[in-house]
């Protein structure tokens, strides 16, 4: 039960899989369109390249310890929130509230994880942010669509900061018989949810026939959803040995977080469609913006955190 040994095993496995994926991608490119551009294969290859970068970044953060994981997710929150608010309609009167969001609530939320103050961590944004931000906006003396603007600022803060901050918060849980191994919970969550996104993409491309909801997400199919969620639930169950769960528990928890993760992507797609855009940004090549990559984590992290906290702490 050596944590470092387990981390090396898991990351070694991921790197091996990425190497296989890169080989398949290069092989497809070589077989099907060596000279000309092929949108699907080229996008697949840029996505795989971006995965290398993202996995290396997560690996480095975990290797750096609790501070590294907190810093990484604080940065992810910052970038997601930028993308969210950039596409959201706010007015001059909200400027001060936005300053509070970016420069007070975001850093404070992650500081509370660092100093392990769970009581305030759990209510800072849903209670204090919820009450103080509209006060700040109201001082801007602009009543045009006031409720809508206040709701959007709060919503962005919840999705991009509050929900995502539950990933590094996993490091603060005291689980009997699991001391010093919490980083593996982060790996379990991120790997399960992200593999679900990958499997949905793969199953959708291979077998996808029935559109799930063309109005919201033209690329999502029933086959992709079922195949993706089941495959990554199997991944979760197979990872039981890095968690405090039994294989059956790991599978059930993986199923719950995958379903939440799917709806995270679905809900945020609805917002994107309403705003008339395909991606939240252009930061990660082949994937779109940061928020396109972490929407599923945002919706699953708090649920995963509370399942572990309620039954295992």
């Amino acid at each position: 039960m050596d944590t470092n040994h387990d981390l090396i095993t898991v990351f070694g496995g991921i790197f091996a899989l990425l190497a296989v994926a890169s080989l398949i991608g290069a092989g497809l490119k070589w077989r099907l369109s060596p000279a000309t551009a092929h949108p699907v294969i080229d996008n697949l290859n840029t996505r795989i390249k971006a995965w290398w970068a993202m996995i290396l970044l997560i690996g480095a953060a975990i290797w750096a310890g609790k501070g590294g994981v907190i810093a990484l997710f604080a940065f992810i929150s910052f970038q997601s929130l930028r993308e969210f608010i950039s596409l959201t309609h706010t007015r001059l009167g909200d400027h001060r509230a936005l300053l509070w969001v970016f420069f007070v609530f975001l850093p404070l939320q992650y500081t509370l994880i660092a100093i392990d103050w769970y009581g305030l961590f759990a209510i800072l944004i849903p209670v204090y942010g919820f009450l103080l931000l509209p006060i700040s906006s109201s001082l801007g003396a602009d009543t045009t669509r006031f409720l809508e603007r206040a709701a959007k600022v709060q919503w962005g803060l919840m999705i991009c900061v509050y929900c995502l901050s539950h990933v590094p918060a996993l490091l603060t849980l005291d689980i009997p018989g699991y001391a010093g191994r919490n980083a593996l919970l982060v790996v379990f969550l991120v790997l399960t949810v992200q593999s679900s996104d990958v499997f949905q993409y793969v199953w959708g491309k291979l077998l996808g026939r029935h559109r799930l909801s063309p109005a919201i997400s033209p690329s999502k199919t029933v086959e992709g959803l079922v195949g993706g969620v089941l495959s990554s639930t199997a991944v979760g169950a197979a990872l039981w040995w890095i968690t405090p769960f039994t294989p059956l528990q790991a599978g059930l928890i993986a199923l719950v977080v995958n379903i939440m993760g799917f709806f995270g992507g679905f809900v945020l797609s609805a917002i994107k469609r309403d705003r008339g855009v395909k991606d939240w940004g252009a930061m990660i090549e082949g994937h779109g913006g940061m928020l396109d990559r972490v929407d599923s984590i945002s919706f699953s992290a708090p649920i995963f955190f509370h399942i572990v906290r309620y039954w295992w702490v």
Binding site: R82, H95, L98, G276
Partner: protein, 207 residues
Amino acid sequence: MSVDRLIAASLCGFAKLLTGVRALWLGSEPLARTRVYFANHRSHGDFVLIWASLPPALRQRTRPVAGADYWLTSPLRRFLINRVFRGVTIDRRPERHGPNPVEQMGAALQAGDSLILFPEGTRNLGEGLLPFKSGLYHLACAHPEAELVPVWIENLGRVMPKGSVIPVPLLCTLTFGPPLSPLQGENRADFLARARDALLALAPPPD
């Protein structure tokens, strides 16, 4: 590299870092032609952002048109606009005695430089666009060889609205649209309305 150029390069880098600016060329390409980039105006940083998102070779031949009443009032501003940005500073007062602004801008075009112009004439603190001043029309008539390229600047007005000291780190997008020029026999009002519509067409849909 001279100090002026170094300052210019670092200001561009800072503007890009702060705003994560993305330039979308929809209907025009970043080519070395004589052009008048005309854009919506919300913030003093507007022209810096357009300037920063042009390729360096084009940037060196592109000069912002700026109000003398703001930019020539302190030594620092004077240094920035004259030396760093090589701006064309014009006197916006109707009772001016100095040179004619359209002739000043025309001289820059004649020398082979491109211009960045804000035809609203002042910063717009509301939504959409103010009516255009006539300078764009007179410039276009006097210099039919220059391409007029509309540029919509999205979000910079929210990053640093008038009167605020701390910027909000939002992402900005610049959309460069297809070039236009006055049609045969088109009068001033019609041309300005068409130019304004061409710029508004690049704006994201209203919420």
